[in-house]
Amino acid sequence: MTTAIGKEKLLRMYRQMVSIRLFEEQVNELYTRALMPGLAHLYIGEEAVAVGICEALRSDDYITSTHRGHGHCLAKGAAPDRMFAELLGKRAGYCKGKGGSMHIADPDTGNLGANAIVAGSVGIATGAAFSSKHLGNGRVAVCFFGEGALGQGVVYEEMNLAQLWKLPVIYVCENNLYTEYTHFSETTAGDILQRATAFGVRAERVDGQDVRAVYSTANELIERARRGDGPAFLLCDTYRYTGHHVGDINRDYYRAKSEEQHWKSDRDPIKIFTEHLISEKIAEQTSLEKIQTEVATQMKSAVEFAVNAPYPGAEEVDQDVYA
């Protein structure tokens, strides 16, 4: 069920999804041009999940994210220039260059941090929800993770605690069908939703390519959590268009090109949303194109900012170890 969403909000969602898409394309470009140290895991194809959920959150609500975290961070309000700077290991980055792609964190947007340990932030999100309840500040914590995280036992420990203590935390499982190079059916026995309901946790499944559906369901679960009715689990069916990371180019051995093509042509979240906006006369093609151009310009200058930004100084290496 989809609740009515105002026009401004819808256009904001559109802009956010485009921002993530273009951000990630720039990341790939930086990698290809050998300007980025290390690797990065692109969120292209999954934009509707992060945007649909974060648009349902307050700015002081919390999120935790994963190795595939750029989309979550941007959707929660991070600025692309400081994101790029972080990805390049520059002083101006969100973590002064110390974290890199997998560790973007930002108190100002409630971002408790991306995490390079699969399921590594499930406890952190649950703990943030504990604080929220204890301090009575009404915040909700959203914990993003891939379906691969269902292999980590700690996920079940946390769901049990969250349900026992009725904590305002939403576990968002992005099932993009693959862990690194293995299909989820080879690693996941039984039924995913039941893994949450078994712990008494309210569980829903939603089309992760439909930003409006994600938003509506998230909204409902988030408000329920905020009311004090406890945690929820939201399973989002989605797909990553590109490799596990930017260097994962030859994917034939683990998935078919035709499958990728299917998702890109028939299930693209931006396309689906564009069609809706136009057919419902919420926006015209040209105004959407204008947004795209604006975002593209923004991303270019953000990249430029990052490329030209200085590295941290050697004296910073042993700062920030202890508070």
């Binding site: 649950t126 301090l135 700690v154």
Partner: protein, 331 residues
Amino acid sequence: MPEMIATRELTLAQAVREALAEEMRRDSTVCIFGEDVAEAGTPFKVLSGLVEEFGTNRVIDTPISEAGFTGVAVGAAMTGMRPIADIMFGDFLTLVMDQMVNQAAKVHYMSGGKWKVPMVMRTTLGATRRSAAQHSQSLHAWFSHVPGLKVVLPSTPYDAKGLLKTAIRDDNPVVFFEDKMMHHKLKGPVPVEEYTIPFGVADIKREGDDITLIGTSSMVQIALGAAELLAEAGISAEVVDPRTTWPLDEKTLIDSVKKTSRAIVIDEGYGRYGVTSEIAAVIAQGAFYDLDKPVMRMGAMHVPIPFSPPLEDLTVPTEKSVFEAAQALCR
């Protein structure tokens, strides 16, 4: 301990409880997570009475989910609480390594100094309880190895109280190890007035000239006992307690050995790749030109701790074994 202050004799457990109660009164964001911490007051009965004063919202019984509730503590610490995670037996630390090492220890650095993790993990160490291999380990070396954590090893009720209060107020993750055999057996004076003890300041528990005995946790008591025996044998032993293995007060340790020119490091963790290794290496380097004899190390024997009492007793340093080693070194 400063002189002229009103004190009472408390057990280690009472001192710990008092520190917790005081800090919980002072700061409503301090809370405790753990198995059977509330009505039961832990199996070691260290927390008895706290739930009555602070309620089940702050003294919180958890399922048997060490990783789970430690994760909650990390997240809660980042968002305004000062949680204390209670890990009943130090052996169960194996279950929280990811939360403590990949998360708690690194959050501050990885975020470029933006998020902080002001949490304490209280846990136990020590053998000779006839609890066998999975309930007798002293795993503090693992945490001392990890930047981002601080590690505390109190040896007296006085130190336990003052250090625990410091740990709770510290803005970093602190792992606090209590010897489970000392909880109710060890008594000592504790001031009535409030006090805290800074981290990274070693304490000279007994002064002496001939040899330095560096002990941690209950091994300080062993060293003090050995020092008595040594005194009877005409050897003057200085007993130094680093109190925190990280930060480590290298200077006090080295200065003592420079004075005595002989040293034994005694710690109940395994000797190999452990606390005795680090401290011995620090001294061997820092007091290189003053040492008359190689620094000696005494840790737990390199075996899983056996259940059988006569075997278990062989695995840890004793007053007698320290006395004999020191005597041999001073010959």
